[in-house]
Assembly symmetry: C2
Homo-oligomer: 274 residues x 2
DNA sequence: CGATTATTTTCACTGAATGAAAGTGGTGGT
DNA sequence: ACCACCACTTTCATTCAGTGAAAATAATCG
């Protein structure tokens, strides 16, 4: 009869179903076979099968390309397309992104913070395809890896920033980002200038520039970022980009709803508005 | 007792949870209160609450902007970002879309068929923002409304096309599309030319051009579409666009996996591989 | 074709899910 | 300040949805 509040039970069909969905998401578009799913979600096969059938009935899962495989379905895509829009950021940001992309003909990214990560929620392509660290829309990067992500980290309150840095440093190092000293310098630099242009050159020749987006209470909620190449990032363009990004970011922040609990700190996961 | 196979039960926590997710998706980014959710999903409040809590624990649902509201969470967005990629179409299509967008500086859309509808699964913006019928990524249009959607419909086998037309005509008419005669003419015209440029002028001044994407078996699976304005659609540009779209669509189709069961006909919704 | 491995069905059991009812908290009217 | 109202939350006895071992069936491979 443990009434432990944080008893993150892995039982209940619902949690199991979500585990299956996660397993399918982790797999590619070719899908997974029942056995793989059962193993990945740590479920007996009959149970996995029953859940898959139900999900399939709901359209969230569909048959994969090769016979007897399963993958995430179109309905799930449609359903979730309207998710991940905290403070209406996606809608508010779209026009700004288009303007920036049109002005510089480079790719523009919109990232929101989620715990220790930043999630890419929108993108507007420029003339040349730029590879983003997050992979595609919906992808995550640890805060501190890449310009947008670093712009967010640099704008967090000191305590929170410290916690995130401590948590993410191993990940950042592992993925070829900055060392601790360089990262801390970059954070200070970003905070001072109001934009981030550290070349944590993960993709050789690539670079970018990002600014934090703050709501009206001053809390960082997102970042607006440009991805480009080193040679296109001339001093003049850099200045113009920084100026425009800051202007657009301010406009987005002003328009966003300040009363948004999505800025939950990573540590405190159970604040009830009691 | 009842062993009715098609007993699409609305019971089972899973189905109930999905009903709740659907309700939340239908609501805007401001979220819904418990009472509204319970009503929308046709569930008693305690049940709805319990499910919401579990979903929230999984990150699929989060607190809304105003106190005591719920909305779809970021995790759902991340999860589903990798869904809706039948035949790997999204990945295969991306480079083609970028090329087309760069060539004409107009917005490019990638639509896949889903039953009686077409779903927008990707978009690459041009210089001027074009409003798409589907709203945003993840949005649906009935087949036969808009160029991309019509390109798909025109390429279906006769019987299937007929069924879809009969099913969708009321919807199309209601939403300001073509009348039956005009639609049928447009379908023939599209099939003959290999691309669709009917100006079912839903958005005045807007127009576009679309081609079907067929897999190697010849089945239509998607459409590649350009959205532009009437004055930008000069005869020369139209010809160049049609040529390029057809070339790119053919390349995508050749690269796609032909053994994909996603081309399920709208009628047969319960084909079990027994 | 037979051996192996994956999928699916069956079924007796059980605890997860249920929802009526009671309790708590917050909001607005006077 | 008070009360009346409505929304949210907790409790708990009931029961049926979910479970998974085992067996049957189907696919795969050498």
């Amino acid at each position: 009869m443990g009434k432990v509040p944080a008893a993150e039970g892995r039982d209940g069909v619902l949690s199991r179903a979500v585990a299956i969905l996660r397993a399918l998401a982790a797999a590619g578009p070719d899908g997974l076979r029942l056995s793989d799913i059962a193993e990945a979600a740590d479920l007996p096969k009959p149970t996995a099968l029953r859940i898959l059938r139900t999900l399939q009935g709901e359209g969230l899962v569909e048959d994969g390309p090769l016979g007897r495989t399963y993958r995430l379905g179109l309905d799930l895509f449609c359903l979730a397309a309207r998710a991940g829009n905290p403070s209406n950021l996606r809608d508010l940001g779209r026009p700004a992104m288009l303007r920036v992309a049109a002005a510089f003909e480079d790719t523009v990214f919109l990232l929101v913070r989620s715990g220790y990560d930043a999630v890419l929620i929108d993108r507007s392509e420029g003339v040349l395809p730029v590879r983003s660290l997050t992979g595609d829309i919906g992808g995550k990067v640890p805060l501190g890896l890449g310009q947008g992500s670093t712009a967010i980290l640099a704008s967090l309150p000191a305590g929170e920033q410290e916690e995130v840095v401590r948590h993410n440093l191993p990940l950042i190092r592992e993925r070829g980002g900055l060392e601790e000293t360089a990262l801390r310098t970059a954070l200070l630099d970003t905070a001072r200038k109001g934009y981030c242009d550290v070349a944590n050159g993960l993709i050789p020749g690539s670079s970018g520039l990002a600014v934090p987006i703050r709501d009206r209470t001053g809390q960082v909620i997102a970042a607006l970022s440009i991805g480009t190449t080193l040679e296109r990032l001339t001093p003049e363009r850099r200045a113009a980009m920084a100026e425009m990004l800051q202007r657009e970011a301010a406009a987005i922040g002003d328009a966003s709803n300040p009363f948004d609990p999505t800025l939950r700190r990573p540590g405190a996961s159970m604040q009830r508005a009691g």
